[in-house]
């Protein structure tokens, strides 16, 4: 907080290149930095998975061409070693969740859109915002570096269960340090978001006039603020176990590779799981709530009618936020923590499904009687609804103690949560990119390429994850290096691995039109006006692209967020800043 001397002077003079693009404090530039970095990590995490899919479809066969590049320590003669498979699995989860989706959904969309939608000139703490991005960046670099150290990256799963993670190779220490950076980044971001939304709403922007996207980000920020610190505590304890040789998570009498461990013992393995899932269940809602926010904006805009039940959405999202802190142990039914505790968490889990169903129902009802425009963002938003529906409903058997026991840790679980985050959240984020691209760049994206991106992606996503339900119901465990080839009960579903893998690789090919579209439209796309979608919310009331300070004059708000097709009005949309004439 030292550059106060420049305050008041820097209004008109040009900021240096470094201050504009690298150590930026403008929320829009930070949002773009987050977005580009997160898209890179999403692609990278996807590549890790594509490597794993080769081993699952063709276990023990050498991977042509690429296999040789990955070094003899990982893939001698192109054949994947089990240790490398474990690294890929752990890092795929970590990268996708903490370095891909959260930074894209919260860091990028939240940073760029929230101040615009509430009519603010910037975030409340621009410099803290910058530190937040760079903490994320450093965390990402630490995680990537861990692939190149002896023993490779973390390999104990994205959950880093102890005692395995306590005795794992150095990559696990890198994982912890990287996580501490990512947690710091999220905390700073969360403080900033909540303060911004409460303090910087423009005149007339009451809480019940906030676009649903802002509500979703608001609740998400609270989850990040309050759920991440216990994981930080857990990470500190695991770091102590690894570096100072304490026994927080190591029980007495542990034998590793035939050798008794020289430890004081007395630790609790379950403690790690409790602390981890205390974060990681709210984290699930961190992954989905911003996506729901994006979907709400796009549905209202493309159905040309108000959402049916804005207040239900708001109360549901608040209720989800609260309940998400008391459902964590439904990930732990198999640990033997006791039936009483299981019963409690089973009840809370059933309760939390109610607001999620309300939200989805409101979205479906909002389609009723609308004059739907099938734009590219709308296609992704429409696909989100059934995909999220499948993901959500298949979660119910996992929330119930008795049905979870046979399904736990099988491919069924993978299919369930990937339906929520892949064709769910990631589709919503694609929708958001297509939707806000004209505002951010001043140019429109190509529709034909959008269709080439959307339809194959939708088909491939289902061909990847639907067969996994079948494998999971057959009892195939999710962490098998050979995809179940050595297990009798898996034999009937092994052929599906080939289908899944090819679908994953084809899915990758059909992301190329998106990447091309993104870059090509940036330079060559047709010019867009300030409000190409004829939308009501405040971000469309700025010049395009929004300048430093966002608005020509900070607008005043007179209406709710989704006043479409008002009876007797000249246009079918009434922007929030349009005065009500009586």
């Amino acid at each position: 907080m030292s550059s106060e001397h420049s305050q008041g002077h820097d209004e008109h003079h040009q900021l240096s290149w470094w201050r504009t693009y690298v150590f930026a404090t403008d929320h829009k530039m930070i949002g773009l930095q987050y977005g580009i970095t997160a898209l890179f990590f999403l692609l990278f995490g996807f590549c890790l998975m594509m490597l794993m899919r080769w081993q699952l479809a063709y276990p023990g066969q050498p991977l042509p061409v690429i296999g040789k590049w990955l070094g003899s320590a990982n893939m001698p003669d192109g054949v994947m070693l089990p240790e490398f498979y474990n690294q890929l699995g752990a890092m795929h989860g970590t990268i996708m969740v903490f370095m891909g989706i959260v930074p894209l959904a919260v860091g990028a969309f939240g940073n760029y859109i929230v101040p615009l939608q509430i009519g603010a000139a910037d975030m409340a703490f621009p410099r803290i915002n910058m530190v937040s991005y760079w903490a994320f960046f450093v965390g990402g670099v630490v995680m990537l570096t861990s692939f190149f150290i002896p023993g490779g990256a973390a390999s104990s799963g994205w959950t880093s269960y102890t005692p395995l993670a306590d005795i794992a190779t150095t990559g696990q220490t890198f994982w912890i340090i990287g996580m501490v950076c990512l947690i710091t980044s999220s905390l700073l971001g969360a403080v900033n978001f909540i303060t911004t939304i409460i303090q910087l709403r423009t005149k007339g922007m009451t809480f019940m006039r906030l676009p649903f996207f802002v509500w979703a980000q608001f609740v998400t920020a609270f989850l990040l603020l309050l759920a991440f610190p216990p994981l930080e505590a857990a990470a500190i304890l695991q770091l102590m176990d690894r570096i100072a040789h304490t026994s927080f998570f190591l029980p007495s009498g542990l034998v590793v590779s035939g050798q008794p461990l020289e430890i004081s013992g007395g630790g609790s393995v379950l403690l790690w799981q409790h602390l981890f899932w205390f974060l990681a269940h709210p984290e699930v809602y961190v992954l989905i709530l911003p996506a729901m926010g994006v979907i709400a904006e796009i549905l209202a805009n493309n159905t040309r009618r108000p959402l049916s039940g804005y207040k239900s959405l708001v109360y549901s999202v608040l209720f989800i936020g609260f309940m998400s802190f008391i459902v964590w142990a439904h990930h732990m039914y198999l640990t033997g923590m006791g039936t009483t505790i299981s019963a409690f968490f089973q009840a809370t889990t059933m309760i939390i499904s109610i607001p999620s169903v309300i939200i989805l129902t409101v979205f479906f009802l909002s389609l009723w009687g609308g004059s739907i425009r099938f734009t590219i963002p709308m296609l992704f938003a429409l696909a989100f609804l059934p995909m999220f529906g499948i993901g959500g409903l298949t979660g119910l058997p996992l929330g119930l103690n008795i049905t979870d026991i046979p399904l736990h840790d099988t491919y069924y679980v993978i299919a369930h949560f990937h339906y929520i985050v892949a064709p769910g959240t990631i589709f919503a984020l694609f929708a958001g990119i297509y939707f806000w691209f004209p505002k951010i760049t001043g140019r429109r994206m190509n529709d034909v390429l959008g269709h080439i991106h959307f339809w194959p992606s939708l088909i491939c996503m289902n061909l990847i994850f639907m067969p996994m339900f079948i494998q999971g119901l057959a009892g195939v465990s999710r962490r098998l290096y050979d995809g179940g080839a050595e297990y009798a009960h898996a034999q009937g579903t092994l052929h599906l691995n080939v289908l899944i893998s090819w679908s994953a690789w084809i899915l990758a090919i059909f992301q190329l039109p998106f990447i091309f579209n993104l870059i090509w439209s940036l330079f060559k796309g047709p010019k867009s006006n300030d409000n190409p979608w004829e939308s009501t919310t405040l971000e469309w009331a700025t010049p395009t692209p929004p300048p430093h300070g966002n608005f020509v004059k900070i607008p005043e708000v007179f209406r709710g967020p989704y006043e479409y097709s008002l009876p007797g009005a000249k246009t079918d949309f009434a922007p929030q800043c349009q005065q009500i004439v009586t």
Binding site: H5, G8, A124, P126, A190, F228, G266, L271
Partner: protein, 198 residues
């Protein structure tokens, strides 16, 4: 940048808060969850342990009592520093903030002697679960004390120039760092009985 942002100095009417005050309360809420996670871990470790030593049989209670007093005094001087600024007495502010920083250093020095005495008797974090949680929690707390020293030292030294240019904003800054400092004290008020006395 900051020229666009309202409520840096004055308060927003509906909330009665300026931005930084809201920010620090949120940050402290996350800190409560951080230490809350560790205190919960302490409870779980202790409930699950076959035997758990009485804190006073291993740790030095008189030194910790001294440290408790030192921190309480530092909290008082922190408030006095803020109050002096409100009364427009910059000299008294410097004195009180200086005393706060001094107390923080005394706390760390006492802590250093406590730690080295343990190491001298071959008591390390790996020796027992009790010592593990003792070193982890007091260590994390000490890091927070160091953080407080850095913030206060900045406001004592180069940061205090702001008093000339934006006095109201500087008072806010002292209030915010004061809130943080009280929290650090409060954590110790919980740590002391839990680790040393129970």
């Amino acid at each position: 940048m900051s020229e666009f942002i309202p409520y840096i100095v004055e308060e927003r009417e509906e909330t009665g808060l300026y931005n930084a005050k809201m920010g620090i309360w949120l940050f402290l809420a996350s800190e409560v969850m951080l230490f809350g996670g560790l205190f919960s871990s302490y409870v779980m470790m202790r409930v699950g342990a076959l035997h758990w030593p009485h804190g006073s049989s291993i740790l030095n209670v008189p030194l910790a009592t001294l440290n408790t007093l030192v921190l309480i005094v530092s909290s008082v001087t922190m408030v006095l520093a803020w109050a002096s600024l409100r009364l427009n007495d910059f000299k008294k502010f410097r004195l009180n903030l200086g005393l706060t920083i001094l107390c923080a250093f005394i706390f760390l020095i006492v802590k250093y002697f406590e730690y080295t005495a343990k190491f001298h008797h071959h008591l390390f974090p790996k020796t027992s679960t009790f010592l593990a949680i003792y070193f982890t929690m007091t260590g994390l707390h000490a890091i927070h004390v160091i953080g407080g020293i850095i913030v206060n030292a900045y406001n004592f030294g180069p940061g205090s120039k702001m008093w000339k240019t934006q006095p109201h904003r500087f008072i806010n800054r002292i209030e915010v760092s004061g809130l943080y400092w009280h929290f650090v004290d409060l954590v110790w008020i919980f740590l002391f009985p839990v680790l040393y006395l129970l």
